[in-house]
């Protein structure tokens, strides 16, 4: 009744959408990085730099959101929900950055089918997150957004299975110990990306449910 007369502060939606776009871009660069390893990884350094840049930009957006939260009388969704969502999104990108940097850290020279599959699943999940966050401010698109969140959760459980398969392959008799250790760590970082996506998706669901 009166709520439509209040200051709307839609910039929060815009900032959240901008942040999730950086996450999607980071996931995309990570995917290209992993896929490109087998072609000699000529672009690897540039792609890692791209992920790092996205992370840095996203950090700035997050800082802006938090500053704005301290300078706004009204917010379109609850303050703590905005904060939680941006934190989950930020965490996703941080882990993506860890994945990208892990390639040099572990000296990974070649990707595996599973690593590529995990990377493409996380790119999918981040893309859906981006679309869900972008639609968050539009009243009529609740069902669509909720659907996207469900898809993110499905992608996460799919990735779980891929990871199991990948780890099983690592521990076959006769495997190289060093290779196994490195890839084991690498896969769990990849899996964390999807866990973070799932957390973010759940947060979006919570927001939708509370504001529907």
């Amino acid at each position: 009744m009166f709520s439509s007369l209040m200051p709307q502060r839609r910039e929060f939606y815009e900032l959240l959408a901008a942040h999730s776009e950086k996450v999607a871009a980071g996931a995309n660069a990570t995917l290209r990085l992993i896929n490109g390893l087998d072609d000699g990884g000529a672009n690897a350094a540039a792609l890692v730099a791209e992920v790092n840049l996205n992370e840095k930009n996203a950090d700035e957006i997050k800082a802006k959101v938090i500053a704005r939260l301290h300078q706004s009388f009204t917010t379109p969704i609850n303050r703590d929900q905005i904060h939680s969502l941006i934190s989950h999104l930020d965490m996703t990108l941080n882990v993506l950055q860890s994945v990208a940097n892990a390639i040099d850290m572990y000296g990974i020279k070649q990707s595996t089918v599973e690593a590529r599959e995990m990377a493409s699943l996380s790119a999918d999940a981040c893309m859906r997150l981006n679309r869900a966050v972008a639609a968050l401010g539009e009243k009529g698109r609740g069902a669509e957004t909720l659907n996207l969140c469900k898809e993110v959760e499905n992608i996460e459980s799919k990735a779980d299975k891929v990871q199991q398969k990948a780890i099983a392959a690592l521990f076959q008799p006769g495997a190289n110990v060093w290779q196994t250790m490195k890839m084991r760590e690498f896969y769990s970082l990849q899996e964390s990306v999807l866990d973070c996506c799932q957390d973010a998706a759940k947060m979006i669901e919570e927001i939708l449910i509370e504001n529907s």
């Binding site: 009166f2 709520s3 009388f73």
Partner: protein, 337 residues
């Protein structure tokens, strides 16, 4: 005519019951004005009840006795009223107040009183009861109008404040409201004292007209009646404030210093207008309306509609229930007094 036979002792007893009703009103409703200042920690509960009681009494110097006039001669025909009717009305209203107070339902003592008066009158006269429809109709209409006005003013105040402070966080904005909140609560307590003490003044006036010790002219009303009524409500507020604080401040919607100020101010303005216009309204309805208005502006989900519905049901019941109890006591009164 019983009225002419009324002994000085009966008169004194009924005035005492009326003052007890007035006291109960403060006991029952006084918390409304302070619930937000206590919930936000601006004052301790003890300070807050003292504060509210003071402004309840101070209303004495602010408002004319227009509401008293509406109750005293504008609801039922004074020439028809006898002390059984007044006895029934007061006891009915008191009983209903105690019931709702016990269950923590912020119902309206004003409507309980009016319901009691009309109920006892109808019990005495049957269907042709001499109800003054102009006054009673006005009261009935304002059952609906006063909370709506409260919603409107409370909501609009909140919108206004949100625009003024749009680039400040609620905490930063809240600093501006430390004084504002007390001001709003003071205004609200003035409105409460003004409107509600006058209802009892009206009843005692009616009683005195019936007993033949006063006439319809305000000048014939002794000033000690006015003072003691204002004192009784202030004392009631002082003693009973804490009980309903919880329902009003936390159950309907979460209030902070700012929304609390807007709600109190919305309630105060509505009450002030009604008191100036001589319309007895429910202070409870008014503040609840204002709280809902503020809640609707800040976050619709913040208004607990289920609890609001509970309140509405209690309000709809108030006039008939108090009327029924009043009728029973009128009957018992004629048998045993």
């Amino acid at each position: 005519m019983e009225g002419l036979n009324m002994s000085i002792w009966t008169l004194a007893l009924l005035i005492a019951v009326a003052l007890a009703f007035d006291f109960m009103n403060g006991f029952h409703d006084g918390a409304n004005s302070i619930s937000t200042i206590v919930a936000t920690g601006a004052l301790t509960p003890k300070q807050a009840v003292l504060f509210a009681a003071f402004f309840n009494f101070a209303a004495l110097w602010v408002f004319q006795l227009k509401v008293a006039a509406t109750i005293g001669k504008g609801t039922v025909d004074p020439s028809f009223v006898d002390y059984y009717v007044i006895f029934g009305a007061l006891v009915g209203a008191l009983a209903w107040n105690i019931i709702t107070w016990y269950y923590g339902i912020p119902s309206s003592s004003s409507h309980a009183l009016v319901g009691g008066l009309v109920g006892a009158t109808v019990a005495k006269a049957g269907s042709g009861a001499p109800i003054v429809w102009e006054g009673f109709g006005k009261i009935l209409a304002f059952i609906i109008i006063s909370p709506l006005v409260g919603v409107l003013i409370g909501g609009l105040l909140m919108v206004l404040v949100a625009w003024i402070f749009r680039n400040k966080s609620p905490y930063q904005a809240g600093k501006w409201f430390k004084g504002g909140q007390l001001f709003a609560a003071a205004a609200y307590s003035l409105g409460h004292g003004g409107n509600d003490a006058q209802k009892t003044i009206g009843i005692i006036w009616l009683l005195m007209i019936t007993a033949g010790v006063a006439t319809k002219d305000v000048a014939t009303l002794p000033s000690w009646v006015i003072y003691s009524c204002y004192f009784a409500i202030a004392w009631g507020t002082y003693l009973g404030g804490w009980r309903i604080v919880k329902t009003m401040g936390t159950k309907i919607t979460k209030l902070n210093a700012i929304s609390g100020s807007c709600a109190s101010m919305g309630g105060a303005i509505t009450l002030g207008l009604a008191t100036l216009g001589g319309i007895p309204v429910s202070t409870t309805h008014t503040i609840t309306g204002a709280i809902i208005g503020v809640g609707a502006a800040t976050d619709v989900k913040a208004v607990r509609w289920a609890i609001t519905m509970n309140l509405l049901v209690a309000w709809v019941l108030t006039i008939p229930a108090a009327g029924l109890i009043a009728a029973i006591f009128w009957y018992l009164g004629t048998k045993f007094l």
